[in-house]
């Protein structure tokens, strides 16, 4: 398994060019092209802002003000996470040709998905920063942002390895994953603040690794205090273990892919 993990490094050129292809192919043929990577998060922000300002106004209490900006801080990383997981549930099956017909390292596929969604995440960040500056919310804690991104990267990779391999054997995964991710969304502090949740419920939310990642983003970018750091320390081994377990699972099933997809 570790030998296989090391060969991942050898595939970096392949991964890089596949990510490029993915990004190029996604917007090819559309009028606005690559601009969509900026427009989509903006539109998303506009919708949430409209809903929570006019339809069901929320008082941005407990460090959630302005609320639209708070929301956006959580939605960007959540979109990266959930798009990656959902796309990886179909990737091995839709790339059956590669796995069956040429000698192709299958683990590259979920990695490419996570990384191309990471690129979209990065393209959304300037918009977020623009609003943070506009509201005068630039925090010194910003320096911790890369660390949280790395934590989320490993966590997401691990889950995507697991989901993509599982979906090959149980096509049901592709059907359930949408609703499952919606449940996960509401079980994560994106539209609400972790701190406003009753401790009895908070206890359960603590089992959700995305809780801590998202609180991490909100604190580094939005509130500017790192009260959540003990949990983030816990997330370091947790993310790594998720990554390794996910990869192990993928590796174990690897040989069945060529026959099952």
């Amino acid at each position: 398994m570790f030998k296989n993990l090391l060969t991942l490094f050898r595939y970096r050129v392949l991964i890089q060019s596949l990510v490029e292809r993915e990004l190029k192919a996604r917007y090819r043929g559309s009028v606005l092209g690559f601009l969509w990577s900026f427009i989509n998060p903006l539109l998303q922000l506009a919708i949430y802002w409209f809903v929570f300002s006019y339809i069901m106004p929320t008082r941005g209490s407990m460090g959630m003000s302005p609320y639209a900006l708070f929301l956006f801080t959580g939605i960007l990383p959540w979109t990266w996470f959930s798009s990656s997981v959902m796309e990886s549930s179909a990737i091995l099956i839709s790339s059956g040709n590669l796995i069956k017909k040429i000698l192709f390292p299958a683990e590259v596929l979920p990695i490419v998905i996570v990384l191309s969604n990471l690129v979209h995440f990065f393209l959304g960040l300037p918009i977020l920063f623009a609003f943070l500056i506009y509201y005068g919310k630039v925090q010194a804690t910003l320096v911790y942002l890369p660390a949280i991104i790395v934590l989320q990267l490993f966590l997401t990779l691990g889950i995507c390895f697991f989901v993509s391999a599982l979906a090959v054997h149980f096509r049901d995964v592709q059907n359930i994953i949408g609703n499952f991710m919606m449940l996960w969304f509401f079980a994560s502090p994106v539209i609400y603040s972790y701190l406003t949740i009753a401790p009895s419920i908070q206890r359960y939310l603590n089992y959700n690794p995305m809780t801590h990642i998202l609180v991490g983003y909100q604190q580094t970018l939005f509130t500017g205090e790192m009260g959540h750091w003990p949990w983030l320390l816990v997330m370091i081994p947790a993310s790594l273990i998720t990554f390794l377990v996910g990869y192990y699972f993928f590796d174990r099933l690897r040989e069945t892919f060529a026959e099952e997809v």
Partner: protein
Amino acid sequence: MGIAIRVSDVTKIYQRYSHRKQFRTLKSALLGGNLLAELRPDERFEALNDITFNVREGTTFAIIGRNGSGKSTLLKCIAGISKPSAGTVVVKGRISALIELGAGFHPEITGRENIFINGIMLGLSEKEIHDRFDDIVDFAELEEFIDAPVKTYSSGMYMRLGFAVAIHVDPDVLLIDEVLAVGDEAFVHKCLDKIAEFRRRGKTIILVTHSLGLVEKMADEALWIDNSRVQLRGDPKKVVDAYLARVTHHEEKALVAEEEKAVTEFESPKSATEHEEQESEIEPSSAFARKKGRWGSREVEVQEVTLHGADGSARHIFTTGEPVTVRLKVKSTGTIHDFVFGVAIFNADGMCCYGTNTHLEQFTPVKFSGEGEVRFVIPNLRLVEGTYFLDVAAHQRDGYPFDYHRALHQFRVQSKIKDVGIYRPAHRWEFSSNIVLKPPKSTS
């Protein structure tokens, strides 16, 4: 010379899951807590059974066999795409597999970008692709379209690009799986030239193909697989002949079954005088195929129709140029003074290759009673390769039918020479002394 590929005791078992599995899916697996147990198959299919062989460096090795015999599975095991369930495969040097051309192409991006990505997938470095880029485009003959998205390519262009990239990986071992079946004549020749160039440069080639001519022409050694096992290995000519003999044997059996079905279907006359044609469908692929049928009063009955070769044995498969005798067993209900026997041969398109009868050839019927045999002797079967249908008939001179068999009997003609048409006149080639050709190795 060393060994380029060493295949030792390779067995491949495909695991199939029974229908039960479709209902017991993720939920039950999770609830039962036996996720990994659920992933275990309950039905097994042996695609390869204990295959062992070596391929020497610099030789061309052909693998032949019927569809589903395990050829492609073996090739995938050698390529490393699938892993043998038991046994080992050792390959020396860089390997490139032409199993499906353009497998990694993305339709939305251009040919240029696809060349780069496909090249990297096949193990080239960016620099190597840069160096070979022009050759690849040149070979694929796609200069004008290289910056168009691949989805706009015709399937021929797509295959050409796929082949061009794969061949320019410059492998030590090249695996080819029937990919030459696509593309136009000119491109196939170009590919064959490229493969020949590989041979000259001392590369090892494994060729899986149904084109037996290609095997005899190109291979140094051949392997015949059937029913997941090695049937024979050795000199290509010997292996191809053994394989053909088996194929002929199978076809013979199929033709016998077909004929039995056709004859019994039309066995009983609806009524003695009814001129009704009974219709049944045959091979929907040939739109021109004639309807099978049998009709007539049966005052004279054609009871049995058989074709015989030179040795007198009844067969359904013949070789061009062989002597063939059509034997009709006929029976008359009384004594008859007006009768004609006829035979006609139709090809698979329903075109009449030849038809004649005793009346046309000016025999005058005198009398016929009881049981007898009519033999139509063809000393030299001058037909090109293909499937043929035989009409036989007994009728009166005015056409009143006793027993008419339309297309109930069929036979196949095989030929080493793939000439075309419906008839092969006896011929030979002659050349003046300044035109020099090498005669074929062995004419059969």
